[in-house]
Symmetry: C2
Subunit: 191 residues, 2 copies
Amino acid sequence: MPPIRKYTKEDIVEATYQLIKEEGISSVNARKVAGKLGCSVQPIFHNFTTMEELLSEVHRKIYAKYQEYMMRGGNDPKSYKQMGLSYIEFAADYPEFFKILFMKETSLDAEKFVMADAIGDHVIKVGQKLSGLSYEEQKKFHVKVWIFTHGIACLVATKTIQFSKTEIEELLTNTVLEMLMGYIKNQEEDK
Amino acid sequence: MPPIRKYTKEDIVEATYQLIKEEGISSVNARKVAGKLGCSVQPIFHNFTTMEELLSEVHRKIYAKYQEYMMRGGNDPKSYKQMGLSYIEFAADYPEFFKILFMKETSLDAEKFVMADAIGDHVIKVGQKLSGLSYEEQKKFHVKVWIFTHGIACLVATKTIQFSKTEIEELLTNTVLEMLMGYIKNQEEDK
DNA sequence: TCTGTTATATAACAAATGTTATTTTATCAG
DNA sequence: CTGATAAAATAACATTTGTTATATAACAGA
């Protein structure tokens, strides 16, 4: 009988995940992952055929962490505002993950972005409760809100701005409210 | 007397600049630059002590291109709106340059960002003409406008959204106007 | 035309990194 | 307690890339 597997797939994924969190994706390599686990590179290539395969599993884990952030406050997201704040908070807590998920070509398509992906069109409906807009109007309005939210998140992830949670909450809340008020006023004037 | 220098510093900088434009910073290396020039790597290391030194000069050239975009419409920027559009257009025309300048930690500090850097506080004054706000109010308002602009630009640079110039102009114009209307209305209600 | 200077080519070296061959070692069924 | 099995260590190989040593060649002044 062979010895027990000392380093499992999950151990290796976890070590890589931590390494990316601490130093970013560009400084990951087989030897560093092994170093973090205190082993040679063999367990890695025993469990994964290539580094690419390992990284793809880590990517999945990173995405799960993002979803966890977006889903907090319950399976059924209560608050439109909270989703925006969670997006930014994820960028603040895991800047390297945010960069991988949302600041690269390969990682995100437009549909996913607008829809806040896994959450589907629920976010539109939740937004409607705040805005009172029709579904189609809210969809258009949501794009603007999300672009603003994404703008803050990118600046946070790259550490260009270093606002506190309170400052960010105020900035986002005020701006979205102002955007909405302006949007409604604009609609009225068009009549 | 030595032979004439066939590959000048500027030739090498230009080749590297083109390479980054086409394939991004991560695929640049000495042999590729040499290949683009049709020479060996020697001219590169004859003109620059290290690749880092070369890349730092290219960075300067990239920044100059950005400034060229922001400055168009005259040395004295006429239009607040045009600056936002130029920022986004730069991201659309030179996504790899935009990423280097504005989507990395190392490249940008908060003060530079808010001020649209080289343009100084002029942008605030130009913005005031549009908004009619006081200098301090406009400064705060400008941050919001610029975050939104930056959000679009990041999405354009990563090809997450692929709006036409017209769509972007409409999106930016409408949103900024709505933000302003909401901002003013909000101020009034505070009284 | 010859020669010194130096730009460029060629080739090599070193470090980093993915990957693999070979050896060592831990486990447990017998 | 022992041997078959496979996990892990060690070491090596291949490729990529920055950098440098050496050889070649082009130019201008003598």
